[in-house]
């Protein structure tokens, strides 16, 4: 996880796979953060979650918001975008990490009244996410080389 309040910064995370990239940005103070979490639920390994809370949705997302508050961001102004959560083909009866990661995120946001302002999730390709702290622009590049702005 990275947070920044410097307009020269561009936060980047690579090759998300089934993991999820969450960006938050407060346009007023130009503070933003990017979380790359891997798994839905920290109950899997509480010790690991203590050491690296950013690994799990339920420990990483609160940490992302709190870290941005420390730099002056406010919840009511936060713009939230998400990308990733890709799946293996025909995964109906399979290990559905991508799906579970998406569901975990939506549950947490729903409970905390957070709206998602832009989303590119699911499918079966890798994504790289960029957050430009100067403008708040979020660009997702997929593994086929296509760029989209969220």
């Amino acid at each position: 996880m990275k947070v920044a309040g410097n307009i020269d910064d561009v936060l980047i995370t690579h090759a998300l796979g089934s993991c999820i990239g969450v960006t938050v940005y407060d346009p007023k103070v130009k503070v933003g953060g990017l979380l790359h979490y891997m798994l839905p639920d920290s109950n899997l390994d509480l010790n690991k979650a203590k050491k690296t809370p950013a690994m799990f949705a339920d420990t990483g997302i609160p940490l992302l918001f709190k870290s941005c508050y420390k730099l002056g961001a406010e919840k009511k102004r936060m713009i939230v975008k998400v990308a990733g959560g890709a799946s293996i083909l025909d995964d109906a009866n399979y290990f559905r990490i991508g799906q579970k990661n998406i569901t975990a995120l939506k549950k947490i946001f729903w409970k905390n009244n957070v709206l998602i302002d832009g989303e590119d999730t699911g499918q079966n390709y890798n994504r790289t996410v960029h957050l430009d702290i100067a403008t708040g622009k979020v660009v997702v590049k997929n593994s086929g080389g296509v760029y989209i702005e969220l």
Binding site: G17, S18, M38, D91, R96, N124, Y125, N142, S143, G144
Partner: protein, 288 residues
């Protein structure tokens, strides 16, 4: 039958370093001598240099600081020597990887190390022990991509089109467009390099272990599952992304639950950090 142009191309690959096979042979003798082992390895400078880069890695858990080959051989222990030597010998092929799968060779190598590490975690979970055959097969499983990349330049859009618009898996699209997939080609390379049959099968069937007709399919299934975990975690993720078939029968085959799989992934992420020196054997141009 495999096309001539592929056969030609794999014959142009440098031969697999004989040192690796010699070490495996020596070590399979329970009374092998450390001095013989050092003698075989030090003759190969490239492998020796790579071993020295890796041997202090936290992954091998050696408490002493190792600074020469003799110490490496005596402190690493039998199982780790096999791993180190295999990684040292295999990594060179990934330095030259190019083409459509990967923007950098380093990613394909990182993926291969990730799969090798995951095979050990799953093997411990399922069988209660580690297994070097799996480690070797993990390092080599995508070796076909190194060669296939050369043939794909122009047909890449066609392959992507089949995947995006027609529901093909990447493997099926490779077959349709180029006539062979990277797993089959990798199997042929393993034959050429005189790897035992189980390693060859593990490579050739790593995306479709369900299609194996004879022989023990446990190794291919474990490589398959380890590969899937790395695809999901984006470890060395390439343009093929996650566009491979999920084969639900693997769950019953090893009696695994979702929780087991996720726990293994946590261990994998830990091991990847510890094994940084292995990943770094193939240097990335722009690490970010």
């Amino acid at each position: 039958m495999i096309d001539d142009k592929f056969l030609k191309s794999i014959k142009n690959l440098p031969p697999f370093p004989a040192t690796v096979q010699k070490v495996s042979a020596l070590i399979s003798d329970p009374d092998f001598s450390m001095m013989d082992l050092v003698g075989v390895i030090e003759y190969d400078q490239a492998i020796t240099a790579n071993i020295l880069k890796m041997c202090n890695s936290a992954y091998f858990g050696v408490r002493h600081k190792i600074s020469n080959l003799r110490q490496a051989v005596s402190y690493l222990g039998r199982e780790n020597i096999v791993r180190v030597v295999n990684a040292a010998g295999t990594s060179r092929y990934y330095k030259k990887a190019e083409g459509y799968y990967i923007d950098e060779a380093a990613k394909l190598w990182e993926h291969s190390v990730g799969v090798a590490l995951m095979t050990q975690i799953l093997s411990r979970k399922i069988y209660g022990r580690e297994d070097n055959k799996l480690f070797t097969a993990g390092l080599l499983h995508d070796i076909g991509k190194v060669v296939l990349g050369e043939f794909v330049h122009e047909s890449f859009q066609e392959i992507m089109g089949l995947v995006t618009d027609h529901g093909y898996s990447f493997l099926e699209a490779e077959e349709e467009v180029i006539g062979i997939n990277h797993a089959q080609l990798g199997g042929e390379i393993a034959v050429l390099w005189k790897f035992p049959r189980e390693i060859r099968d593990a490579i050739a069937y790593h995306h479709r272990p369900d299609l194996m007709e004879e022989g023990d399919d446990a190794i291919p299934w474990l490589i398959y599952l380890s590969d899937q975990a790395c695809l999901m975690m984006g470890i060395g993720g390439g343009v093929d992304g996650l566009a491979y078939r999920g084969l639900g029968e693997v769950i019953d085959k090893f009696n695994l639950r979702q929780k087991d799989f996720e726990e293994s992934i946590v261990l994998l992420l830990k091991d990847l950090e510890k094994a940084k020196e292995l990943v770094d054997l193939v240097e990335s141009e722009s690490k970010g």
